[in-house]
């Protein structure tokens, strides 16, 4: 929709062209969230597009997703077949919205929006991702698990911007599953469970979204038993931390996390358990 209160558009080609950050300024990546509801507080849009931050690159360190890299490129790009991590990323893309939104929306924008039901945050946690944050004071790398602190809250200070996401190379070969449940077949999730499994070491990392205001990470040194899963889940997300709102109760959300966890682990238990 039209953002009637916007007075100024800044389209820097370098970050240092920007004036000091002020209230009323908003970063614009894809715009697929910003333009979906009135933003009466926004007076200035700061467009990231001309900064040239749209890389989708494979480096020695791993997979790099630039701040303005749109989601559809994750779907279209070719990756080595043994990179099991890509499946979770692509499921995240499809879970977000229609292919037309995927053409415009950015992965990093989704992370910074920090909705409890954000589709990528649990993926990034499971894959041990790190985010490069640019602040007036310099650049820093933040662990995905430390980034989102609540519903629509992150560690970013006003004026901070995420430059890129790095999924370390060691995690790219982990096998992944992506499970979610919504009230309908699409829309905001009530629970998201993304599981990454290292077939060499049997290590398991699970990102859980939409159950608590900020996504949570569970890690297991080996394939967990059902009991270990239940204990880890209850410890990481006590019932009082679960979201209770008009869409679903806290009890249901956590129970769905448990159910989806079971389903997401099932493929990795090997033939005797399947």
């Amino acid at each position: 929709m039209d953002l009637h209160t916007v007075e100024t558009l800044l389209r820097p080609t370098r970050l240092d062209e920007l004036p000091p950050w002020q209230p009323g300024m908003a970063w614009l990546a894809g715009g697929t969230w910003l333009f979906t509801e009135p933003q009466p507080q926004v007076k200035t849009l700061v467009d990231l597009q001309r900064l040239g931050w749209d890389e989708l690159a494979v480096t020695e360190a791993g997979l790099v997703i630039g701040a303005t890299c749109v989601m559809s490129r994750l779907v279209e790009a070719e990756f080595p077949e043994q990179w099991g991590a890509i499946a979770a990323l692509r499921r995240g893309v499809h879970a977000l919205a229609s292919f037309k939104v995927q053409n415009v929306a950015t992965v990093v924008g989704n992370l910074c929006l920090a909705l409890p039901a954000g589709t990528f945050a649990p993926v990034m946690m499971a894959l041990g991702a790190r985010y490069e944050v640019l602040s007036p004071g310099g650049a820093a790398w933040i662990e995905a698990v430390d980034f989102q602190t609540g519903a629509r809250r992150t560690i970013l200070q006003p004026g901070d911007v995420v430059r890129r996401v790095l999924i370390p190379r060691e995690f790219l070969t982990w096998q992944t599953t992506y499970q979610r449940i919504c009230v309908a077949s699409a829309g905001l999730a009530l629970a998201i469970v993304v599981t990454a499994y290292n077939p060499m070491t049997q290590q398991v990392r699970v990102g859980i979204g939409a159950v608590s205001p900020a996504p949570k990470l569970l890690t297991f040194a080996g394939m967990p038993t059902a009991e270990e899963v239940a204990i880890a889940l209850n410890t990481a997300i006590p019932l009082e931390d679960c979201i209770e709102d008009d869409q679903a109760s806290a009890t249901y959300r956590r129970e769905m996390a448990r159910v989806l966890l079971g389903r997401s682990l099932a493929p990795f238990y090997g033939p005797t358990r399947s």
Partner: protein, 977 residues
């Protein structure tokens, strides 16, 4: 607000576009006249505004306009090269992948790109892949089936039967003639209400109430009025205080007159407080924010049982049935929504009862005494929203002669004209209301919601004014289907005889009583009337609360009642160990019976009766055999699932008896073509096509020979409008009568000219021919005279006008069957199969009827599983966007089967009955019954969200999920014993 100048190509033409910095591409394209890019959700969820930017499909409503700088943008208007449509456009025409057409440009723009994608091209099941990947495109009319078929045809060359040609002669009725507006729809022509405005049009916005219930102590508009670009600000002090109803009904208007242009009291969050008229929407919005209002906040009430106070007692709900409680000290002093002295026709304002309906026949006590057992249940159904894709919009202006003209998206132009004339003290002929093309309505446009203030603004300013609702306004400040609590009790003999039925309903009519009483009437009368039972009693109330009003919505109360009735009948069948279809075969209304509940004469009758065949057809197609157990499915490794089958029956009248009036004028024009003038409203369903088929049948011509002017109080005769499944049954009958009249007029006049007895002549296309081939015309020995010549020799137009109002409304029946799969761990319900057989009389246009039915099934599926307006403690809608208010997507709908059971109805035109509403009623109970069949667990509340199903499954050992119903279950056992 700063403007920017952009340069980009639009459909191959370089354009310079000046727009606001924060503008969306959608708005920039509208400035370029690309009105085929439709604004529906404005939030990137519905896909109606899909365009291509450098050949990449995007939702233009969430695409910043400035990002288009230097690009090439393609819109629906740029697809066709001249008259040459693209394969996808042709496929949508061929397969009729639309009804109202509002979603169609976005569908075509999306589908064209979708069928290039590898996920779809390489899919084993392209239909499933298309449905899966079209989740960014919403349609509310079609149920997606015709759309999926169109995309298959357009992208994969799947071809089914060739549709009959438009000008093919012979029988016109019973053929699936394409909707005549198809070419305009698939090319994105500017045919809808908002697609044109007069030069210099101002825009209206209203300030809406932040409080559920409050008095306006003081309102200061000074700051708003001084904002540059503001023309006028209107408050309750500036308007005539005349009570009226927003419901579009004919006189005598049955609804409470409890609404005012602007009032000094607000009754729900979103109620109108003040109106601003300004040069632009943005300025009007800004000015609304500058209006200072001093509110005296009043106590409010959200639950209809609580709102009635002690008057709720005789409905017989258990004490815990009210979902919210009033604080104890307020039990003596209810918050009263309509304590103003000038409102009238309110049943009991002191207890917030807008309307009450009592129906009774037989002797209920005798009925209970005769019963071997009774079952009693409480059902709860939510408020749901129509979500017609085209929003409410009006544009008004003054003609040079002072006539007030309103171009409106309305289902009821004539009722609207009458209300405006009354409100502004104008003679009716000085008010012209007309509609152009409608993008759906489903009842919500049977309301006068935008026309009143828009017209007032024009009268105050002398300028053209437009008022268009945002999607947020649609979801929070229009109308919903009435939420209701329903208590239903039935007495049954062991042989299945129903000895007594008692129903009590508390329907939430929200802040205003529009439609409430009539809706509540159907909630009881239709379901109770469907079954043979000598002793019945009904008490229904529409109750004011501080929420968005309930209003007219396809099904009109019957939908709520059938959910209760058809679920309970399933339980009765189980208690009797009888197949649910068999119980219905024994107990459903018989053709000899009438509907005499609470009436001493027939308003409804059964003209044709194909109900038993409809039951058989659905049973066969679902391969249902009595006592069939539920099935497990093979994919148990990912979770336990169960499948089950469920049924439901529904009925609905065809128009309103006595009072639903239609007039039709039919003429032979000087050019030899026919012209039909009808005040009826095609909501997008195709009635403009259907009505012409009826005329063409009688006139032995083809529908392309009949021009049509519709729904214009100046240009067409009176028609009550599009509601109550009336258009085919009532207006169609007027068309039939007019066509018969015109035919005999034409033949009689021809007698004078050709000297042949009238019985030896006939109409044939654009000629009058001899049945005996006596003419000496060289090409066609039978030709006597062309209609053009006849018209010339008769000095111009030959016109007839006929009027029709039905003595009784004939009943249409529908049988719904579904197969569902339930995930026992998550509670998720998927509908795998859906079959509906409709006892339709005669399908004038089978494809249009099927489209209506499938669309109704989709709407019913949403009601069953996902749709619900959720409110906070202020009664404010928590999910006013399509992202949180979930409509069915293409992938939620199974491939459905429709069976048209055709037994001509003696009262309908050429045998036809109404079909607009009945199809929506059966899905929710059928799905609930299928869930019960699959799992043994029964739900009494809609929608059956995963969590509700899961909770019911968890508590299955305590008999069911609802405390109310559990208590009643015990009572049953005692009664049974």
């Amino acid at each position: 607000m700063n403007e920017q100048t952009l340069h980009f190509q639009v459909n191959g033409q370089e354009q310079q576009i000046c727009c606001a910095v924060g503008a969306s591409l959608l708005s920039a394209l509208h400035q370029q006249g690309c009105m085929g890019v439709h604004r529906v959700c404005d939030s990137g969820d519905c896909g109606s505004c899909t365009v291509w930017v450098n050949d990449v499909a995007v939702h233009s409503c969430i695409f910043p306009a400035f990002r288009a700088e230097g690009t090439a943008v393609t819109t629906i208007e740029g697809l066709a090269q001249g008259a040459s449509l693209t394969p996808m456009q042709r496929a949508f025409l061929e397969k009729q992948g639309f009804q109202c057409g509002y979603c169609t440009p976005g569908m075509i723009m999306s589908a064209t790109k979708l069928v290039e994608r590898p996920e779809v091209v390489q899919a084993e099941d392209p239909d499933a892949a298309i449905r899966n990947w079209m989740d960014g495109n919403l349609c509310r009319c079609t149920g997606y089936q015709a759309i999926a078929e169109s995309i298959l045809a357009g992208g994969f060359g799947f071809q089914a039967e060739v549709s009959p040609g438009l000008a093919e002669s012979g029988c016109q009725v019973g053929r699936s003639i394409p909707k005549q507006d198809g070419p305009a729809i698939v090319t994105g022509q500017p045919i809808y209400t908002a697609d044109w405005v007069p030069a210099g049009t101002l825009h209206l916005k209203v300030l809406r109430s932040p409080h559920a219930h409050a008095l306006i102590r003081r309102i200061d508009t000074t700051k708003a009025q001084t904002l540059p670009g503001v023309h006028v600000v209107l408050t309750h002090a500036d308007v005539p205080r005349i009570p009226y109803t927003t419901a579009g009904h004919g006189e005598p208007v049955p609804d409470p007159h409890d609404h005012y242009l602007l009032d000094n009291k607000v009754r729900f969050v979103g109620d109108r407080v003040a109106a601003v008229v300004a040069d632009s929407v943005a300025i009007a919005e800004q000015a609304c924010g500058l209006i200072e209002v001093d509110y005296e906040v009043l106590p409010h009430v959200l639950d209809p049982l609580a709102a009635m106070g002690d008057r709720a007692v005789d409905l017989g709900f258990p004490p815990d049935a009210a979902s919210t409680k009033l604080s104890s000290d307020s039990s003596t002093r209810l918050p009263l929504l309509h304590d103003e002295p000038d409102s009238f026709q309110i049943h009991d304002a002191q207890h917030n009862i807008a309307g009450e309906v009592r129906l009774e026949k037989g002797n209920l006590e005798r009925g209970w005494a005769e019963a071997d057992f009774t079952l009693e249940r409480i059902y709860q159904v939510p408020a749901v929203q129509h979500f017609h894709l085209e929003p409410h919009v009006s544009t008004s202006w003054l003609e040079a002669d002072g006539t007030l003209v309103v171009r409106s998206a309305t289902q009821v132009p004539f009722h609207c004209q009458r209300v405006l004339a009354q409100l502004f003290d104008l003679p009716k002929e000085k008010v012209r209301v007309f509609k152009t093309h409608l993008g759906g309505g489903f009842g919500n446009k049977q309301e006068i919601l935008t026309e009143d203030l828009c017209a007032l603004a024009t009268l105050k300013t002398g300028r053209p004014v437009q008022w268009q609702f945002t999607r947020w306004e649609e979801m929070t400040a229009t109308n919903s289907r009435h939420a209701a609590k329903i208590r239903l009790k039935v007495g049954v003999k062991r042989d299945g005889t129903l000895t007594a039925m008692e129903m009590a309903v508390a329907a939430n009519t929200g802040a205003y009583g529009n439609h409430g009483t009539q809706v509540v009437f159907l909630t009881g009368s239709m379901p109770l009337g469907l079954y043979r039972c000598e002793n019945q009693r009904y008490l229904g109330r529409s109750v004011y609360t501080n929420t968005m009003p309930g209003g007219a919505f396809r099904g009109y109360g019957a939908t709520q009642g059938f959910f209760a009735m058809e679920c309970l009948m399933d339980e009765v069948a189980i208690a009797l160990q009888l197949d649910p279809l068999e119980l219905r075969r024994r107990q459903l209304i018989q053709p000899s019976a009438g509907l005499l509940l609470g009436a001493d004469h027939h308003f409804h009758l059964i003209g044709s009766y194909g109900l038993q065949e409809a039951l058989d057809q659905v049973q066969q197609r679902l391969q249902h055999t009595p006592a069939m157990p539920p099935s497990r499915t093979g994919q148990d490794s990912v979770g336990q699932t169960r499948r089950g089958i469920g049924f439901a029956v529904a009925m609905q009248g065809s128009g309103l008896a006595k009072i639903h009036e239609a007039r039709v004028r039919l003429a032979l024009q000087p050019n030899g073509r026919y012209l039909m003038r009808t005040g009826s409203v095609d909501l997008g369903t195709g009635s403009d096509t259907t009505l012409r088929q009826i005329a063409a049948e009688v006139l032995h011509t083809t529908i392309d020979q009949i021009d049509i002017i519709t729904a214009d109080t100046k240009e067409t005769p009176f028609d009550a409008g599009a509601y109550a499944s009336a258009t085919t049954y009532i207006t169609g009958q007027a068309v039939l009568l007019a066509a018969q009249d015109l035919r005999s007029h034409l033949l009689n006049r021809a007698v004078e000219m050709v000297n042949i007895p009238v019985e030896q002549m006939d109409l044939q296309g654009d000629c009058i021919v001899s049945k005996n081939e006596v003419s000496e015309h060289e090409n066609d020995p039978s030709l006597l005279i062309t209609l053009e010549t006849l018209a010339h020799q008769q000095n111009g137009v030959i016109e007839v006008e006929r009027h029709y109002a039905a003595d009784a409304s004939t009943l249409t029946f529908a049988v719904q069957g579904v197969e569902v799969e339930v995930d026992l761990e998550t509670g998720k319900v998927s509908v795998l199969k859906a079959v509906q057989a409709v006892d339709i009389g005669k399908a004038i246009n089978p494809r249009i009827c099927e489209g209506q039915i499938i669309g109704g099934m989709a709407m019913g599926l949403g009601y069953a599983l996902t749709e619900e307006l959720r409110l906070n403690e202020q009664g404010q809608t928590l999910n006013p966007t399509p992202r949180t208010y979930r409509l069915p997507l293409a992938k939620d709908m199974p491939k459905v089967e429709v069976v048209l059971v055709e037994r001509g109805d003696p009262y309908g035109p050429l045998g036809a009955k109404g079909v607009g509403e009945v199809s929506v009623n059966g899905m929710a109970p059928a799905i609930a019954n299928a869930v019960a069949h699959a799992t043994g667990v029964r739900l009494y509340q809609l929608p059956m969200t995963p969590e509700r199903v899961w909770a019911a499954l968890r508590s299955r050992h305590s008999s069911d999920s609802s405390a109310c119903n559990r208590g009643l279950e015990n009572a049953d056992l005692e009664n049974d014993a």
